[in-house]
């Protein structure tokens, strides 16, 4: 278990947060997913990398947890606020505005599209790997990723880190 947490906590948390959009729920989902993975480890066949298998569990657990909690939550939480980066005040404001637009655009995506973008742009998975993790056909992955990237790029409006 120690090893699972050490090696996969960050990726698991990011995928959980991309689905739930709530840091507290994301931590709950991360714990659930890691426990499930740990318990199911003996049945892991090894025909895909362990990381992908754990991310698939995380995605499914997060969706399931979100469904259970949705009845209690009237309005889903926004992504956690981030401090603006950059040297000057003006650049900080620009960064802040760009990230706010980006956050809103990300919030407007459906959960699967958010996961696809995170798996691709942050975790660096290939199309085939995403198809395997999310158990979706390649054309669906491709179309959703294209649409999501486009919406997010429009929101960033030329912003560069």
């Amino acid at each position: 278990m120690e090893e699972l947490v050490e090696q996969h906590a960050d990726a698991v948390y990011r995928v959980a947060l991309s689905v739930t959009r709530d840091p507290v729920l994301a931590e709950d989902a991360s714990q659930d997913a890691l426990i499930k993975a740990w318990q199911a480890l003996p049945s892991f066949r090894g025909d895909a990398p362990l990381r992908h298998w754990i991310l698939r569990i995380t995605h499914n657990v997060s969706i399931s947890l979100l469904r259970k909690r949705r009845e209690d939550v009237l309005d889903p939480l926004d992504f956690p606020e981030q401090a603006a980066t950059g040297p000057g005040v003006e650049s900080q404001v620009q960064d802040r505005l760009a990230l706010e637009r980006f956050s809103a655009a990300l919030r407007d995506l459906d959960g699967v599209s958010r996961s696809i973008v995170v798996l691709r742009e942050v975790e660096g998975l290939s199309y085939n790997e995403m198809s395997d993790v999310l158990e979706l056909p390649l054309p669906t992955i491709r179309t959703r990723l294209l649409r999501a990237r486009r919406q997010l790029a429009i929101a960033l409006d030329g912003w560069q880190p």
Binding site: E27, Q31, L34, L106, E121, P139, R149, A153, Q160, P161
Partner: protein, 105 residues
Amino acid sequence: MKRPGHPSDRKLGQWIAGGDTTLDRHLASCSYCADRLESVHGESGEAIGEALRQLLSVPEELPERLRTGIDERIANRRDLTLIGEFFGLPLRTVRVFSSSEQEDE
């Protein structure tokens, strides 16, 4: 690089930036152009990745918090299983208690 019947790199770039929406249908079904978009994607891809990393930042103390939470959950489940065994409850019943206990957390 462009084949006849497919949009140019410039048009793909415009599409990514929110311009030409007439390409939507073509891009949804053309794997050749989807592959080309990967190379055109370049700079905006880096910006999207960086924005995502900032937005989905992982708390520094996350691994420790996860370890603590996981240990507590495993201990709770163990306790429930012991109680179930003591009262002779079927495993399925204990699992129901265990799962509702998690939901209540």
